[in-house]
């Protein structure tokens, strides 16, 4: 046996434990496959598998119970194109609590090998059975649990693993491990092994409790490939200068814009905020909508201010732009007597001394109604130049249709 994969440390396992032969087979399979120790990253789980680190001259990582496959996946994802053989060693308890990680690694065909040492018990906590303990084993031990074990080989293979095998005899173990560690993609070797403390002494015939051996190879395993175009999120010089005049009378003005999902409330609020910046004002803008983003209300708040804005809350909004009944329901308890209301004529049950009702939906269509209502406010209040709004629209999506909506509105105003 070539010893270079292993250190000189004494094996710490109970006499007769399967982990001894498994470690020797791992070493043999790796050196026969041409790996040097530092070509290998061994990730050990918690349990008896977790005490193997000192035996290996490879890189070693020792993590949490059940998470060694996820931790190994992270190593592989971090490596990108660097060639390393990543191996996780885990017991059946770890595989039970970490089943999701195994399926995920198989589904993604992560380039690693999982050596799953199935001794059918939690050996370090008193010999409790796991999700991989066979029915015969449980029956033999008088455990009242007739539910079948996870067939981890079948599950992993179905999920997309490149190579899976269950080995009950140590005679073929080295050869199967060699197959696994030379496979590109996710490979699993489930090794049935005895726990001397909690398995053998209470079990008469070993052949009865193991699941049958398998060896499965996926001919078309999935490949990890992601190519994306990286785009800087901000351009330091992309800011908008103050191009237009604003005629804000007070220090600041707060708007609540209320409509329905899909009605362009958030995008119109953004355009309006940008128009504020183009008019030399400080602005803030935030949105609120239910978790069902495709239905129900959609509310935005915009503040325009001569000074820098710190606090963005709106204790008493100055203007309410209300487009739909959903939106009105959401904000109606915030409306106060000094507020100005601009509402679509379709909004029901709205009575306020300072309200203006216009059929914005007819003028601007479903998507353009909000921007029309904001343009209406701009015309009525003279808070900013209309060109600030149209310039802001031209920066964004749906510019043509929104500009058309605005021109419909200003046409009506001109006639009036």
């Amino acid at each position: 046996m070539d010893n270079k994969i292993l250190t000189d440390s004494k094996f710490p396992f109970c006499p007769g434990c399967g982990l001894g032969p498994i470690v020797r087979s791992m070493s043999k399979a790796l050196s026969e496959s041409g790996y040097d120790p530092l070509d290998v990253v061994l990730v050990s789980d918690i349990g008896c598998c977790g005490i193997v680190d000192p035996l290996f001259a490879t890189h070693t990582i020792h993590g949490l119970h059940g998470r060694s496959v996820a931790l190994s996946s992270g190593v592989v994802l971090g490596l990108k194109d660097v060639e390393k053989k990543v191996i996780a060693i885990q017991g059946d308890g770890g595989a039970t609590i970490g089943l999701q990680h195994i399926l995920e690694a198989a589904r993604r065909n992560i380039n690693m090998t999982l050596i799953l040492v199935n001794n059918m018990v939690y050996g370090m906590t008193g010999g409790q059975v796991s999700g991989l303990s066979s029915c015969d084993f449980k029956k033999e031990r008088g455990i009242p649990d007739s539910s079948p074990p996870y067939d981890i080989c079948e599950l992993t293979f179905t999920a997309g693993a490149a190579y899976v095998t269950r080995v009950n005899s140590h005679k073929v173990l080295t050869q199967r491990l060699r197959e696994a560690v030379t496979t590109q993609g996710f490979s699993l070797v489930e090794v049935s092994s005895l726990c001397q403390a909690y398995g053998v002494s209470k079990t008469t015939d070993l052949k009865n409790w193991t699941e049958k051996e398998v060896e499965l190879r996926n001919e078309n395993p999935g490949k990890q490939k992601s190519s994306r175009e990286l785009v800087p999120l901000i351009d330091m010089d992309s800011g908008m200068g103050s191009q237009f005049r604003s005629d804000l009378t007070g220090e600041r003005i707060g708007f609540v814009i209320a409509g329905s999902a899909g009605g362009g409330v958030q995008s119109a609020a953004k355009v309006f905020a940008k128009a504020g910046i183009l008019s030399g004002l400080s602005v803030s803008m935030k949105g609120e909508y239910p978790i069902t983003v495709g239905t129900g209300f959609s509310v935005a708040e915009v503040i325009l201010s001569k000074q820098e804005i710190n606090y963005t809350g709106l204790e008493k909004p100055d203007v309410f732009i209300i487009l739909t009944n959903d939106g009105y329901e959401k904000v109606r308890n915030r409306i106060h007597e000094n507020a100005m209301i601009i509402a679509d004529s379709g909004v029901e049950d709205l009575v306020h001394p300072n309200s203006q009702r216009v059929n914005f939906k007819q003028i601007g269509g479903k998507r353009g109604a909000v921007i029309c209502a904001l343009a209406h406010f701009v015309v009525e209040s003279g808070i900013m130049e209309m060109e600030a709004l149209t310039t802001a629209i031209s920066y964004g999506r749906h510019a043509a249709s929104l500009l058309k909506a605005i021109s419909n509105l200003t046409g009506i105003h001109a006639v009036q």
Partner: protein, 368 residues
């Protein structure tokens, strides 16, 4: 020629993601959660490597694995996700792996209200690795959203530790007009290997208490990373050497509390009334300070940008005031409790609110 001031409409998430990438963070592992949604979206097209993990336990495990290969990982989450990460975060802390975890606070407890902002997670984060300090930075402005992520990453690399960037929904999802051209340049953090002892031992630290981190990519030195109590080699051990490794996890961060201390102080260092706050409540506090001064009050403001570890310098400032008001958007005053514990003092008052931002008026009313 004086450069003409120009502004962009931008949210805090975008500034933070860009700041992290420019600082050298190169892999984002995400699991979607509100109100960290924007981080995930922006990271997809900005980080050199992006992976969507199937749950938050996997997120921290993948980040840890990637960190052993020399990558600088980032994720963004909220309380429910952070809660799932706790064991793995402890692992990363014990393994001494650099990474940045952005936590966007929302109303709790439990699933609470996903789209309502809050400042209620400090109580968990304070003890997230019980007895030890995971550095926590907390942006209180868009300038901070630019600079603190880079400092968080720098700290993670220099101190070989996970670092938390604690934000809130209002900080990262609300858009503001902001002058990007005034922001300072961010240089990438370059991990340095200082004082490498041969033969290499993964947990042997020099006088600076930091053990140089070699990646598992290297082919010269064996790297052993370990989450359990371990010796200098990185092997499981229970002896004086391994307990010293554990003790060092505390001292390497605590001994740098002054260096890691970032804050904004507006006022005289001994005075009458002091507002102490952090994160999103800082906006209201700044407005309140202005109004209090206009009313002739002797008021000062301390905005804490490093929440853990707490430096003696900050305690000194707080203690020098006759009247102190802690302003926090949570039910019990978690920063006040972090500093003073359950011991209530008459001149140390709290203004807390649940489910809604604290307004400048409310702060002013407490102090006039």
């Amino acid at each position: 020629m004086v450069k003409k001031k120009s502004k962009t409409l931008i949210d805090g998430s975008k500034i933070i993601v860009e700041g992290l990438v420019r600082a050298g963070a190169d892999i984002f592992i995400g699991y979607p959660i509100t109100p960290s949604n924007l981080f995930y979206r922006y990271a997809q097209n900005r980080f050199p490597t992006f992976h969507a993990a199937p749950d938050e336990i996997s997120v921290l495990q993948w980040m840890s694995g990637a960190a052993t290969t020399g990558r600088l990982p980032v994720t963004a989450t909220a309380f429910p996700g952070l809660a799932l990460m706790v064991e793995s975060l402890n692992m990363a802390f014990a393994m001494e792996l650099p990474m940045v975890i952005v936590v966007t606070q929302r109303l709790g407890p439990s699933t609470g209200s996903a789209t309502t902002g809050a400042q209620g997670d400090l109580g968990l984060i304070t003890g997230i690795v019980p007895g030890f300090d995971v550095p926590v930075f907390c942006p209180s402005s868009f300038e901070d959203c630019w600079e603190l992520p880079a400092r968080a990453l720098q700290t993670a690399v220099e101190l070989r530790t996970p670092v938390i960037l604690l934000t809130s929904k209002e900080m990262v999802m609300t858009s503001r007009s902001f002058d990007l051209s005034a922001l300072p340049r961010i240089d990438p953090v370059i991990p340095e290997i200082k004082g490498l002892h041969i033969p290499y031992q993964s947990y042997r630290a020099g006088e600076d208490l930091i053990a140089p981190l070699l990646s598992v990519v290297n082919e010269q030195h064996q790297v052993r990373i370990n989450s359990s109590t371990h010796d200098l080699d990185g092997l499981i051990a229970k002896n004086e050497e391994s307990l010293n490794v554990t003790r060092r996890l505390k001292t390497k961060i605590n001994s740098r509390s002054e260096k890691l201390c970032y804050y904004e102080f507006d006022g005289a260092k001994t005075g009458k009334k002091l507002i102490v706050t952090y994160g999103v409540s800082s906006f209201a506090a700044r407005d309140a300070l202005k109004e209090l001064r206009e009313r002739g009050e002797d008021a000062s403001l301390l905005v804490m940008k490093t929440l853990i570890p707490i430096s003696a310098e900050l305690i000194e400032i707080i203690e020098s005031f006759r009247q102190v008001l802690f302003v926090e958007e949570n039910i019990n005053g978690q920063l006040a409790e972090l500093i003073y514990g359950k011991l209530k003092k008459e001149n140390r008052r709290q203004l807390n609110k649940l489910g809604e931002q604290i307004s400048p008026t409310e702060i002013v009313n407490e102090l006039v």
